[in-house]
Every structure is written in C-alpha cells, then in structure tokens.
Symmetry: C2
Subunit: 219 residues, 2 copies
C-alpha cells in the first residue's frame, strides 16, 4: 500500500533566515550520513539492491486564478494565471534528468482536469494534453514538501542538494514550456501557459479555487 510515513529522515532541517521553509527558502544541507556509510559487499543477500527512494514530490491544486509575487518585488516580479493548476514541486535526492522528463510527461497525461459532460450529469476527467480549452500552470518550487515528521519536527534528509535541485527545477520549467508549446499547437487557438516561481526566492501566493481539489503525487 502507498505510504508516506516519516521514515528515512533523521535530523532536523537547518533553520532558515529568510522565511520558515516557504516556497523556496531552500537549505544548503550538510552531508549528514558520511559516517554511516554501509560497508558495501560485507553482507551479501539474495535480494537485488533496489532503491525505493522517491525522486520528486508534487502537490497539485486546481485553481481559477493564482498570483505569485516573488520577493514582494515590483510588478515584473509577479506572475499570475487563470484557470488551471498550481503545481508545487520538490526534488529529492534520487532525482535526475529522467525525473524531470517523467514529471513533464505525467503532468500532461494524467487526468487532473475536469469538464462537465454535455448533459450536465457529471464531470469527466481530462488530461492537460487533451483539455480543449485554455489552461494555465503555475509551478511553485516547494522544498517544504520534502518534510517528513519525526517526533515533533519536520525533517528534510531526502531533499536534493540545492545546486542539483535548482538545475532540475530550471530544466523542469524549460521542458514544461517546450511541451506546452508543442501540445498547444494540437488544438487550434488553445493556449497552454506555464508560469513559474523563482527557485530560492521567497514568494507570496494567493489563489482562488472552485473546489478545492488537492492531490499529491510522488515518483
């Protein structure tokens, strides 16, 4: 069964000067497991070595509008979207370029949106690639998603180191925009817009949701 129990994290997150683990106040994690390195090959087992660690965590919310003000800066530092999805993303230690590709694919093929049926009786689920109307995405870097509760503290051992996570985030946005451009062209006149928060900056989020609808995806 699916589990997201607070395992695999052993120490607290370093305290943050800029804002209590907000959108992107990402820590520079110290290497904490150097002394715990397993003696490889010292104990052979029958089962193959399979990593069960996760590579990324998403929380997705459907919204009608959302505004992200980065560093409470001037208007050009503000991004906003209309109807669509807010996608909070966090890269974990297992993340790679493949994770980015998987996330982009997932966001376009998963039935995360909905449309009323013609007879009004129900809604049908639709993926981003096949959604017939304009739809916007707002991506928010969200290190706090790596948090796992141990005793009373949220701990962040699974979080990818900042340089790697920052590069993966940059690539994620780039690939998401390329995919959106390609997919938008399949439905004449439809717009697929990708807006994004800035990795490592504090940002104020406001949104309005008709539902709300919140879902978590871990890969």
């Amino acid at each position: 069964m699916s589990q997201a129990t607070p395992q695999g994290v052993e120490a607290s997150m370093p305290q943050q000067a800029e804002g209590c683990l907000g959108a992107s106040d990402l820590p520079t994690l110290k290497a904490t497991n150097g002394g715990k390195k397993k003696a490889e090959g010292s104990a052979k087992t029958k089962s193959p070595k399979v990593s069960t660690a996760s590579a990324a965590r998403l929380v997705i919310q459907r919204v009608e509008t959302a505004i992200l003000v980065i560093d409470a800066g001037p208007p050009e530092q503000q991004v906003s979207i209309g109807a669509g999805l807010v996608v909070y993303v966090c890269f974990l230690k297992e993340a790679s370029v493949g994770t980015v590709a998987e996330l982009v694919d997932l966001l376009f093929r998963a039935d995360l949106l909905c449309l009323p049926n013609e007879d009004g009786s129900a809604n049908r689920k639709v993926c981003l690639a096949q959604f017939p109307q304009d739809v916007d995405l707002l991506v928010v870097p969200q290190a706090s998603l790596a948090g796992r509760l141990k005793a009373n503290a949220l701990q962040f051992h699974s979080l990818a180191p900042k340089p790697e996570a920052q590069e993966l985030y940059r690539r994620f946005i780039e690939d998401l925009r390329a995919k959106a451009q390609a997919e938008a062209a399949r439905v004449p006149g439809r717009k697929l817009r990708v807006e994004a928060g800035v990795y490592g900056n504090l940002q104020r989020l406001t949104f309005s949701s008709p539902g709300p609808f919140t879902t978590c995806i871990e890969i």
Copy 2:
C-alpha cells in the same frame, strides 16, 4: 524511504456530478474487493501480519488569510481565518477513532508554525500548542487526497466509505475544537480558532500565503 507511489488502487473513481472531486464531493464507493478476499491461514509465513495501509492523509499550508465559501451560499455559509494553517484532510479505509485522536495530537505537537528569532537571524519552528500568538486553523475535507495515479487516472480505492469518513470528519472537528479550547487556556489571551468546511459540500477556497509552505503528512 517514505513512499507515496500510486500503488494499492485498482479502479477509477466514479464520476462526480457535483464538481470533479472538489473539497468534499465524496463518492459512495462500491465494494470492489469482495472477490479478492485472501484465504486466511492457507499459507503461513514467519513474519507477523502487519497492516501497512494508511489511515489518513493531510496536506497543510501556512496562510495569512483564507476564506471558504460553502456551496457558494449566503454569508453565514462562509468561514474565514487569519494567520494560521489550512488543513486538508482525507480519511482512508484504515481510519478509526484512534486515527482522529492521532491527527489532533499531531496537529498540536508538530512544529508546523514558525516565529522569527529575537535577533532576526532565523526562524524557529513552533508547534500549535506552544505558539505564543493567536493562530487559526481552517479544516477542509478533501477526498481528492486519496487519489493515486494509475496509468493516467487518479484512483481512489483507499478512500474510506462515506458514512464512516463523514463521522470521522465530524469527530475530528469536534475534538480539534475541544483541544484548541484547552490549549488556548494555557497562554492567557491567546486565541486558537478552528473553522471547518462542511463534509460533502462543494466549497470555494481563497487563500493568501506569505511563503507558501506546503507539507504532506500521512499516518
């Protein structure tokens, strides 16, 4: 390592007439595993039988303000909070009265809030029970959190049946309010307020967050 992979769910959620799995458009799930009952005792194993299923899922977001309009109804159907936490909650099949007690305890003891240090250098994490200022909670029933992606569809096999989930939700709010009242009294003048959405109703959510800060907890 912690995992929330889309396992353990085998069929799609029934389509919803009222709003695409919004805050509380909860399905009445059919019993789908009647034919798959394990032949108990037919194969003894050395390891004890331990359930690894989850009982509840929370997504928690720090907010400055949040407004929940239930069924787009009259003003008395609107609840709003100031600075505090929005807590989206979903009860799964393994949920019991004990789950409610565990969730209430967890929300008050986990270091989910933060305060600037006196020298302004950093923030320190604080739990609800020890937070020295007023703090509000807005609880939103959120069946969509049970969703696990299989192929392209979110599936909801782990969701608790509606009557049980509704009763657990009612109890959760009641116990949370009782705990808030008891805890508030420990700090003279401090207010701990619990507002809540209505289980099974569509509700429109608007919030503003300074961070944002989003975390997932599964028990």
